[in-house]
Symmetry: C2
Subunit: 308 residues, 2 copies
């Protein structure tokens, strides 16, 4: 069993590559839920949905969120009815959120609902939320503390961030199956997701870091940054805000207590020795994944390094 | 001020005619909420929505529910996700239910939400739910007691009904403005809605019948039946199940404690004397409303009789 820790966009690309390179039933993805948000009263879990839609072959490759070819009739009408509607929700996508919200209200756990959704959509891999408990990523800007989605989507990650925290993490528990998957994995992949707000919330769940450190599996990460910037999104800004160097070296620091190998961009080869001082093997590769061929090639590289 | 008591389909036709014949700002519609249902976790209020969409010029004239030209992308995806989806919900219509459900969850009252929705949709008339409290119409069939929408929509009103009740009615209160509207009305119209399950729940709210009896306004009803059958829907079946004669005479009985005048179909003229024995004036007219001209003509007749 291969276990991947992932956020949305960037992580989903490598997850897609992994599922294409191995028997997808042998893949378990542990998803960040710190970005989850209540939108129009509906429970939206962006990273779980991106991973599920990606593995179901439904995702919109151009956008990194939502379902390809989706329509927006409900959202347009929500706007007409005077609702604030900065969060993009397609019609088919809404069916996911409506179903999940109903099941949660009926007492269902996020993990059981996620399992049901992936099965009905024909996904063979296992998708696990990091926790069934609510952990909310919040960022502090000059205007005060706001939920991550408000910063990321509404404010298009432009405000200066001075702090990031994961509200509720200290009282959360890993979702059923998460620790077992980590301890029994043949290999663990830390996807090229934002180390602060995508992988960070997963690691903030008590028991997660120690399980990773304890696991006998090789743990291979892929840097989401090239030079001082993220390939996409605000990782570099949030790394700086969290007191971490905005570079592959900073990524390595975030995972230093459990990571065996970090794949960094060819352009970052001068960081190899710095990273290896952290007792993490550093290997360079082409880490951009513009198409399926690149996703699969990087997945093969990850799997090969996990075997060594 | 003209006050109309109404359910959905049939009532909405006369309401449309009334709003076209008078200054629509002078019209207050008191709506049945006994059919309200939680569908996919969303609070659906079919009669309020039919009246609101009708007065906003948005309703689908062919169907008697929903918004004209609406699409069904969410519903189709809800089905794909394994949800039971016998209740038709268009995409634009869903925006109403999503908004209302969120506002209710935030502590809003149905009356305030209804007021907000009608204003944002440009409706000049006042639309009031009969109550802000939950009153649920339930029917007993051979299979046991089920909510009205399940009988009406899912079972297409085919099961034999032995009883109808309005769960919660005894502890409900009229919504703010309802009693004042009745007491201050110049005329009150009982629309040609099902007397058992559309007008019945309104009358089951404590204080409603006595306010109608006390009001100085002329109260004019329109029969929803011709011969022994409803013009549309199961009124005749539910009247029989409630021990009321399935005819305009039965309609008159339902309203005998407050009704002044009942407009019945030309075909039912032989019932005039029977109805007048109940101390209700009976007048015949063409009560079918296939188009706006007929709706307006019947509305004029109602308004004229209220003046006499």
């Amino acid at each position: 069993m291969i276990v991947a820790l992932s956020g949305g966009t960037g992580g989903a690309k490598l997850v897609e590559g992994l599922a294409a390179e191995i028997d997808p039933a042998e893949l378990t993805v542990i998803c960040n839920t710190g970005d989850d948000a209540i939108v129009h009263g509906l429970y939206v879990s962006p990273d779980i949905d991106t991973i599920t839609y990606t593995l179901a072959g439904l995702s919109d490759p151009g956008k990194g969120w939502g379902i390809a070819g989706d329509t927006f009739a409900v959202l347009e009408q929500l706007r007409r009815l005077g609702n604030e509607a900065w969060f993009n929700l397609g019609d088919k996508d809404l069916a996911t959120h409506i179903t999940r919200t109903r099941l949660l209200k009926e007492g269902g756990k996020l993990s059981a609902i996620t399992e049901r959704m992936r099965r009905v959509l024909g996904v063979q891999s296992t998708i696990l939320p990091m926790s069934d408990d609510r952990v909310e990523t919040r960022v502090t800007t000059a205007q005060g503390e706001i939920p991550f989605q408000e910063y990321f989507v509404k404010e298009r990650w432009s405000p200066e961030v001075s702090a990031v925290r994961f509200a509720g993490a200290e009282n959360s528990q890993p979702a059923p199956g998460v620790i077992t998957a980590i301890l029994n994995a043949q290999a663990i992949v830390v996807c090229p997701s934002n180390p602060i707000t995508s992988i960070g919330p997963i690691l903030a769940v008590p028991g997660m870091r120690s399980a990773l450190a304890k696991s006998a599996a090789a743990i291979v990460g892929v840097s989401p940054t090239i030079g001082g910037s993220a390939i996409s999104g605000p990782a570099h800004k949030l790394m700086s805000a969290s007191g971490v160097k905005a570079s592959a070296r900073g990524v390595a620091e975030c995972y230093r207590d459990f990571l065996d190998t970090l794949i960094i961009a060819d352009e970052d080869r001068q960081l190899i020795s710095e990273i290896q001082q952290l007792k993490i093997r550093a290997v360079t590769a082409d880490i951009r994944m513009p198409d399926l061929a690149h996703k699969r090639r990087l997945a093969r590289e990850v799997l090969s390094l996990a075997r060594k």
